[in-house]
């Protein structure tokens, strides 16, 4: 590999050719502040926080995009540079709704942190016009407060570059520039698929999830209610970050303990219904293959992806698996099977779902997600809200013991837990489908080909005389690429897994926000996925069909996968949607 050697603040550093000054400085243990830069998706040099001096150049260079060169001498913290950065911050503050004490991002805000680091003394130094924008809380999952927006455009990059949607972008220009949708439509009327990737990358409190913490506390303390909680696989890979633990910390045991202490009547695990999903989905796939059904079949666990498909690829709705997502299946089972088993009136059950996902807040409200008029789920919290709940309840995370989930719906397998990483659903489905088709035990349950973070991963398996071709992708811009290839006949596959968020649920829009200065140098997707793969490996049961609780529910309640009752409870339908459809009306 070609390398170059340069000096940054007098420190000599050798880095690969093609590195930017920002990356080179990182190697030299120097942090250059950024606000707009997001590696690979938002390299626009707009915020001007990262300007540095390059010896011999009269102009300052934006370190985030300026290529490092051999022999270059860079100065990142001279008085001139620091003075400039202070002014940039002061200007941003002059145009920011400064309600830091009550802001949801307080303490975790990148702007606030930089202001502290740079010693901003007078937040009103450049006071002037500071327009107040109308808050957009039209969407099911989130709130946009443009008065706190610093126009870094990270949300736009997430929406446009990562997700290939672009339902938000800069409107107007100059001082009046603001991030909004086409014709300033309320977000709910756009083709927003609720993935929340914009929230995950926002440096301030300008975009945040709708908060249901108070409602859940109220339900818990309502003696007439039986409050159940389910928690998605990926939550355990991210939650500890809310308590300043390193990225990639396994929080499963403490998480269960915390839920119990919060007062939930039963602490269950979505991994159980992930296993249930596999039973239904593997069965559906085998059925489609054997009976000439529509192929390729595409997974339907990711509600952001489902809405994307309904909006942008409505012709592929028949390809979507009819299985509800694990969240939906869980609620349906809890209010039927569990209620019956425990002798509780399903109407008294409050089903709380803790998800790494904001689209789940949209999904649980979809009209299809009910059984005879009873909602499958009653509240959906993101990992972040869950973290806030634990703090508000005064629970000391560090001193929490590790506990287990309650039975029976807290029993999950390794196959179910890897749902939270891209490729996990496919791998879990393959484990079950292969054994079902061959009737023999797999010598190795690790399907490495479908793991990892490559944009599109394909594999072909010969199973009991059948050739099964699979493809896996995550991030909807990648999904577009994959679907277009399939539609153009360039790629022939039988089974596709799509996750809306890049890297899958571990990087979901409801996960703890990671500051860009970490995000740009650590692959949070990979670090969090490791937690799930380790849990899989450490689980004695690694195949969904071997989950005793799953066996029991089929034997005593559902019958068999794809049964009439299973269809009623566990399967759903889809709706064709138009791009920015409500506007067209």
């Amino acid at each position: 590999m070609d390398t170059i050697t340069l000096k940054i603040d007098g420190v000599e550093v050798t880095v690969p050719k093609g590195y930017t000054v920002l990356q080179a400085a990182h190697e030299a243990a120097i942090k250059i502040p950024t606000l707009c830069y997001l590696k690979e998706i938002n390299e626009i040099g707009a915020c001007r926080m990262c300007l540095v001096e390059v010896k011999g150049s009269p102009k300052l260079a934006a370190a985030c995009v300026f290529p490092a060169a051999d022999g270059m001498e860079v100065y990142t913290n001279t008085p001139r540079i620091i003075e400039n950065r202070k002014k940039t911050l002061e200007l941003i503050l002059s145009n920011h709704r400064k309600e830091c004490l009550s802001c949801v991002r307080s303490g975790k805000c990148e702007l606030q942190q930089l202001c502290q680091e740079y010693g901003i003394e007078d937040e009103n130094y450049y006071a002037g016009a500071n327009p107040v924008f109308e808050i957009d809380d039209s969407a099911a999952h989130m709130v946009r407060d443009n008065s706190k927006c610093i126009l870094c455009r990270r949300c736009v990059a997430a929406c446009t570059v990562s997700q290939g949607i672009g339902c938000i972008g800069p409107n107007n220009r100059g001082f009046d520039t603001n991030i909004g949708s086409v014709f300033d439509l309320p977000l709910a009327e756009t083709s927003c698929i609720h993935c929340g990737q914009c929230i995950a990358v926002c440096p301030t409190g300008a975009i945040y999830e709708k908060d249901s913490v108070d409602d859940v506390f109220a339900a818990i303390h309502d003696p007439s209610k039986h409050v159940l909680v389910q928690v998605a696989p990926a939550v355990r890979a991210g939650l500890a970050e809310c308590f300043d633990k390193p990225i990639g910390t396994d929080a499963q045991g403490k998480m269960a303990a915390a839920m119990r202490r919060l007062g939930f009547d039963k602490v269950f695990d979505t991994v159980f219904s992930a296993d249930l999903t596999i039973m239904e989905e593997a069965n559906e796939f085998i059925d489609r293959v054997s009976n000439g059904g529509v192929l390729p079949m595409i997974t339907s666990c990711s509600p952001g992806w489902v809405k994307f498909c309904e909006t942008y690829y409505p012709d592929m709705i028949p390809n979507l698996s009819t299985c509800k997502s694990p969240q939906g299946m869980f609620g349906a089972v809890a209010k039927s099977y569990y209620a019956e088993k425990e002798g509780i009136d399903p109407k008294d059950i409050v089903m709380v779902s803790i998800m790494p996902c904001t689209a789940k807040k949209f999904e649980y409200g979809r009209p299809e997600m009910n059984i005879d008029g009873l909602r499958d789920n009653d509240y959906v919290l993101t990992t972040r809200e869950f973290g806030r709940m634990i703090k508000r309840a005064g629970i000391n995370w560090d001193m929490l013991p590790e506990e287990d989930f309650d039975l029976p719906l807290g029993l999950g397998t390794g196959a179910g837990v890897i749902f939270g990483a891209t490729g996990g659903v496919m791998e879990a489905a393959l484990r079950t489908a292969v054994e079902t088709l061959t009737g023999e035990e797999l010598p190795n349950v690790d399907f490495e080909d479908v793991r990892g973070l490559k944009d599109i991963r394909t594999a072909t398996y010969e199973v009991a005389g059948l050739t099964v071709r699979v493809a896996v992708t995550s991030g909807l811009a990648n999904a577009r690429k994959l679907l277009d290839m399939v539609k153009a006949g360039e790629l022939e596959v039988d089974f596709i897994e799509v996750m809306a968020c890049p890297g899958g649920c571990v990087n979901g829009g409801g996960q703890p926000q990671v500051h860009a200065d970490i995000r740009n140098f650590v692959d949070i997707r990979a670090e969090r996925a490791k937690v799930l793969y380790a849990l899989d490996k450490g689980n004695a049961i690694r195949k969904s069909h071997e989950n005793p609780a799953i066996k029991e529910i089929y034997e005593t309640f559902l019958g068999e996968p794809g049964s009439h009752l299973a269809h009623k409870l566990l399967h759903t339908t889809y709706t064709e949607r138009k791009v920015n459809g409500n506007w067209e009306k």
Binding site: K87, S94, G128, L151, R173, G174
Partner: protein, 602 residues
């Protein structure tokens, strides 16, 4: 057989003053007099003297008629075209020479000029490729394709010393050389016709008057750098220019001067037009390219420079219309010919759009290095109404003000930069003693604030904060610290903004503080606008000794701010009136209506 040509200006300026109707009337009158086979009416591009429009020139004889109306047509036909007698009353009275000048070339306006980029403007019919050919059009292209290698062409450009006329003055040959140096399957040649400085219309006039010169030059550049596709980015507010470009493109295609296998040399080149929506920032090269790509027009950080990764991430060059207009002549006449004009580092000529407090507003082309004094006093005919010259503004919102003390500055890249201004694209706005320099700074800054794309923090918020400070000062609410804050922000924005437009946005403020600090101080400390422009600092006052009590002012006051007092001046019969400054909206109606000079603004 045609014996006479009547040239009627079809540029935007004269079109606005009615040249289209003039042309129709002329054609009708010629038919009525049965002269249609002897006299040809030619619609031309801009002559430059827009202030005297609509302009008509009759050949032979090169007789120049100014401010012609439809009513003048029968007389011109009867007298001049039929009988050969010049219609004296329509002949221009030269302000500088103090005499009637029949030929346009003899006017003081034209005498100092050296027309290179504007060579064909006003002389040919821009909608006729044949006339362009007759003016040695496409000779340069033929020479390049048949006799020169791409490196030869670049060497000629380097030797000529031609620098970009869009504002920054980057050497054109060097730009081409860089682009040629990158290997790529696709390269692009772009023309910047997104002229956006307030008051500037050089590029529009060239496109309207001589569109083929741009097509020819772009094709030459395509050959030099190895590109087969060009784009002209022109603002949609230039409908005449767009129309003529479209006609020119069609003609060039028809003649095989664009498209495949040009002049049977195997070289392919084509050009498309892209319409801009008129955003100032789209004149910035990376923003222009982003806009052509179909995105929101915003600048991109450099590097990578467009020569490496420009339009659609391919090596690209972008030159401004006026730059292009010089190129065929450099090829034909040689680089030495071009380098012989101008100064040591600024070669050739520069077109300026003269505007403001000057008698001859219009378009002028002068050798680089001509002094500002020559431009104002000779070409421009001086300041009207006997007022004193105060300052000239060059470079539009990116430029600065040149005070009267520097009136002998040479107009070239270096000398203008030395005194804190820039050449810019060629806007030249003249100001007299009635102009308030704080107000001027505010005007230009307001423009930048309005036109900022909003991408980078310094420009988006910083320029707005500067404007707010200027607003305070012109309202008499400023403090002396505000001047420091202005300078502090100005230097910060220059250093930190993303693109050239942001980096130069503070220039009008900095240069007015530099040369007219006393005016800022007068606004702040004395709460006075010395030029009497800033309305918030003005008050209208009635002199009770002069007021005869006619109440004319009172009757014309829209704000009901004037009332009768009980003071009767000596010798007057009626009591005088007085203005209630709290109610006064400073519209000036009272002063305009006072026949006795009793009202003044202070």
């Amino acid at each position: 057989m045609i014996r006479s040509h009547v040239m009627i200006c079809g540029g935007s300026g004269c079109t606005a003053s009615g040249s289209k109707a003039l042309q129709e009337a002329m054609e009708k009158e010629l038919v009525a007099k049965d002269l249609q086979d002897e006299v040809k009416v030619v619609q031309t591009g801009c002559f430059g003297l827009c202030e005297l429009g609509p302009i008509m020139v009759v050949y032979p004889g090169d007789v120049f008629y100014s401010r012609v109306t439809v009513d003048d047509i029968p007389e011109i036909v009867e007298e001049h075209l039929l009988k050969g007698r010049i219609v004296d009353r329509l002949v221009h009275e030269d302000e500088v020479l103090k005499e009637q000048v029949t030929s346009l070339n003899d006017t003081s306006f034209y005498q100092v000029q050296k027309r290179v980029a504007l060579k064909n403007c006003g002389l040919i019919d821009p909608e006729s490729i044949d006339e362009y050919l007759a003016m040695d059009g496409y000779v340069a292209l033929q020479k390049v394709l048949q006799e020169m290698t791409p490196d030869d062409v670049i060497q000629v450009m380097l030797d000529s010393g031609l620098r970009g006329r869009g504002g920054a003055g980057f050497p054109t040959g060097l730009k081409w050389k860089f682009a040629k140096g990158y290997d790529a399957p696709q390269k692009f040649v772009c023309c910047n016709a997104d002229e956006g400085d307030p008051g500037a219309f050089m590029d529009r006039s060239i496109l309207e008057g001589d569109p083929h010169v741009v097509l020819e030059a772009m094709t030459i550049a395509g050959y030099a750098i190895g590109a087969n596709q060009g784009y002209i980015y022109v603002r949609a507010e230039y409908p005449i220019a767009v129309q003529r470009l479209k006609i020119a493109l069609d003609q060039a295609h028809e003649y095989g001067l664009l498209g495949k296998n040009i002049m049977e040399t195997g070289f392919d080149f084509d050009i498309d037009i892209r319409l801009g929506a008129g955003a100032f920032v789209c004149g910035e090269e990376t923003a222009l390219m982003t806009s052509i790509e179909g995105n929101r027009g915003e600048p991109r950080p450099r590097p990578p420079f467009p020569a490496e990764k420009g339009l659609f991430q391919s090596p690209s060059i972008l030159n401004n219309v006026e730059t292009w207009a010089n190129i065929p002549q450099i090829i034909i006449n040689g680089p030495e010919w071009f380098a012989a004009m101008g100064t040591e580092k600024s070669k050739g000529t520069k077109v300026f759009a003269l505007g403001g407090k000057i008698k001859h507003t219009g378009l002028v082309e002068i050798p680089m290095g001509t002094t500002l004094r020559t431009v104002i006093e000779e070409v421009g005919g001086g300041i009207p109404n006997g007022k004193k010259f105060k300052a000239a503004q060059t470079g539009g919102p990116s430029g600065g003000c040149i005070p009267a003390s520097h009136i002998d500055v040479q107009m070239d890249y270096e000398h203008l930069a030395e005194i804190g201004s820039i050449m810019g694209s060629g806007g030249l706005i003249v100001m007299d003693e009635d102009n308030c320099m704080v107000d001027i700074a505010k005007f230009f800054l307001k423009f930048t604030v309005d036109e900022s794309c909003g991408k980078c923090t310094p420009c988006r918020i910083g320029t707005r904060r500067m404007l707010e400070i200027l607003d305070r000062i012109t309202e008499g609410k400023g403090t002396m610290e505000d001047i420091d804050k202005l300078e502090e922000l100005a230097y910060y924005i220059k250093e930190n903004a993303l693109c050239g437009l942001g980096q130069t946005a503070p220039n009008p403020v900095l240069s007015t503080i530099r040369f007219f600090r006393d005016e800022y101080i007068a606004h702040i400390q004395d709460k006075k606008c010395p030029a009497g422009v800033c309305t918030a600092l003005l008050s209208y006052v009635i002199d009770p000794e002069k007021c005869i009590g006619c109440t004319m002012c009172q009757r014309n006051c829209p704000a009901d701010a004037i009332s009768v007092t009980d003071y009767v001046a000596e010798g007057h019969k009626k009591p005088s009136l007085a203005i209630d400054t709290d109610k006064c909206i400073k519209c000036g109606a009272c002063m305009n209506n006072c026949k006795f000079g009793a009202i003044s603004k202070q």
